[in-house]
């Protein structure tokens, strides 16, 4: 059998798409999550409902949107509402099943920093800020974090907690009584981390060819490995074909990791 080659962006996107279930209502972000959702809709989740924070519900984009407010999201959508409505009626009310998140830093308990490196008042690196991620992390039923596996992205503790993972541990999140369950998986180009009973992210799966050692070396805390460590299913030619030929033929997002 011929070995299939792929980029790390393709690996992230396809593994993210497999986390979606048919019928999920998903709050879609731009970039790889957008590709992952569109891939899921064309494969195992044809009834996926895609919601965009610009206020679009049930989008069926005919082309790959560069921004989260692209006009292609509107034409043919089920509904368009105001920004207040999308956050209040949809997200805060608990009508969103899945949120995708990313950020400059993700810590041991899945808290995310998308705001600042250094002091808040005297930023060394000023990042874009929360956008909708503070609310998505709190109120989407399930959250998934998609990010390359690099040590600087996975510090023991984030400089600034833009959005909540399990805070200082699962019990603290439970005490906060948030609607959403928190980050259920972090998908990286090496494998998958999931929270254990304390909320700490542990390595639960490796992609084919990746090693425990690589994952531990590229994580800023002492990464635990689950006793039943799995290997993710290989990418299929069907998944790669849809991504490359239909969703991102110009490789705007998929070129990463080539």
């Amino acid at each position: 059998m011929n070995e299939i080659t792929y980029t790390s962006s393709e690996l992230l996107t396809i593994n993210a798409s497999r986390l979606l279930r048919d019928g999920d209502v998903v709050f879609v972000g731009v970039g790889l999550p957008n590709l992952a959702c569109n891939l899921a809709r064309r494969t195992h989740a044809p009834n996926l409902v895609m919601i965009y924070e610009a206020g679009v519900i049930g989008a069926q984009p005919a082309r790959l949107p560069l921004s989260i407010g692209d006009p292609t999201l509107v034409s043919g959508a089920l509904s368009v509402c105001s920004m207040y409505d999308i956050f209040a009626f949809y997200l805060q009310r608990g009508n969103v099943d899945v949120g995708f998140l990313g950020g400059a830093q993700i810590d041991r308990f899945g808290n995310i920093n998308a705001t600042v490196i250094g002091e808040y008042d005297h930023p060394k690196v000023r990042l874009p800020g929360s956008g909708g991620s503070m609310e998505i992390a709190a109120w989407a039923n399930r959250c998934y974090i998609i990010t390359p596996h690099q040590k600087r992205r996975f510090p023991e503790k984030v400089h600034f907690r833009t959005s909540a993972g399990y805070l200082s541990g699962r019990s603290e999140r439970e005490a906060a009584r948030l609607h959403g369950a928190g980050p259920l998986a972090v998908v990286t180009d090496l494998g998958v981390m999931e929270p254990d009973e304390t909320g700490e992210l542990v390595l639960t799966a490796l992609h084919p060819g990746a090693s425990e050692e690589q994952a531990r070396e590229n994580t800023g805390w002492d990464l635990k490995v689950a006793s039943n460590l799995k290997t993710t299913d290989p990418l299929t030619a069907v998944e790669l074909g849809i991504l490359r030929n239909e969703l991102d033929p110009e490789r705007i997002y998929l070129k990463g990791g080539e």
């Binding site: 989260i68 705001t115 503070m134 709190a138």
Partner: protein
């Protein structure tokens, strides 16, 4: 009574130095032409509020119009960093006040509805709440639980671009409706720019589409292509290649100044700007027609 005036007159009359300005539109229908006119009229010390400052505020900050930004996401949407605003903040030259999207929009909602604050469920991510003293918590009098609150945002002036409006300012929007209505109702003064000025009868034929009533509007300006490089649903596409190009242009103050000289200071108005973009850009941004099914309101 007609409120039709030129954009230049409207900015001159309704935007003052030191004002808090909200140029509305979430990605869609951002009134770039108004931002450029504010730059040309050399307004100073403005407080620029927008959920996503976008390139319009990057340009206005670069031109020296602003002393402060209020925002919830300072990125170049889909591209990366909003370089000029970011550099000014990192250098300590620009004040800022920051929210999440929901709390930013809740501030406008409070302003638009005349409430003293808007409540939100807690998100448990408290660092921004600690960093920004406008975030407070109050006890829910019914359950005893805690809710997060933000105060009203009441801009001195809101600028809203729409597809069509009548001469009195009754404005209709379709596509992404972001926070245009909230910004207009929250503001003291409202400038509406539009792709088309239409007869009142057109507005009355489809009242559900009217987002802003004329009686809260101060000025109506006919400004076709006002939103470029943003877009107007059904009229022209988003110029994504300009958003990508700005990532390069905004890397140095020199190239930003060269851009402003050529495309803002060196231009009289939006018509000249659009002509200067040229036929190739016009062609690239053309949109094929996809009309909605009509609805029947009935004759009573």
């Amino acid at each position: 009574m007609t409120k039709l005036i030129t954009l230049s007159e409207a900015i001159n009359k309704f935007v003052e130095d030191g004002d808090t300005v909200y140029a509305a539109g979430f990605t869609h229908m951002i009134p770039f032409a108004a931002g450029h006119e504010i730059i040309r009229q050399e307004k100073k010390n403005l407080i620029l509020a927008r959920a996503t400052p976008d390139l319009i505020y990057d340009q206005m900050v670069a031109a020296g119009c602003a002393k402060k930004v209020i925002f919830s996401y300072i990125g170049n949407p889909g591209v990366g960093s909003l370089r000029f605003v970011r550099a000014e903040i990192e250098a300590g030259r620009l004040e800022w006040e920051e929210y999440s999207h929901f709390s930013m929009i809740s501030r406008l909602q409070a302003g638009a509805t005349g409430l003293p604050f808007m409540p939100m469920n807690p998100t448990a991510a408290k660092d921004l709440e600690k960093a920004n003293p406008f975030y407070r918590t109050v006890i829910d009098p019914y359950t005893g639980g805690e809710v997060v609150v933000v105060p009203p945002l009441k801009p001195d002036v809101a600028i809203v671009h729409v597809q069509r409006v009548d001469a009195e300012g009754n404005a209709q929007i379709w596509g992404i409706i972001g926070e245009q209505k909230e910004a207009a109702f929250a503001a003291e003064r409202v400038i509406v720019t539009a792709e088309e000025i239409v007869d009142e009868a057109i507005i009355r034929s489809d009242p559900n589409r009217t987002v802003i009533p004329g009686f809260i509007v101060d000025a109506v300006c006919h400004v076709p292509y006002c939103a470029h490089p943003s877009y107007t649903q059904g009229y022209y596409d988003r110029d994504n290649s300009f958003y990508l190009a700005w990532d390069e242009i905004s890397k140095t103050p020199e190239s930003v100044n060269a851009y402003l000289d050529e495309w803002v200071y060196g231009i009289a108005d939006r018509m000249e700007y659009w002509e200067k973009l040229g036929a190739e850009v016009h062609e690239r941004l053309k949109v094929a027609s996809l009309p909605s099914a009509t609805v029947d309101y009935g004759k009573y």
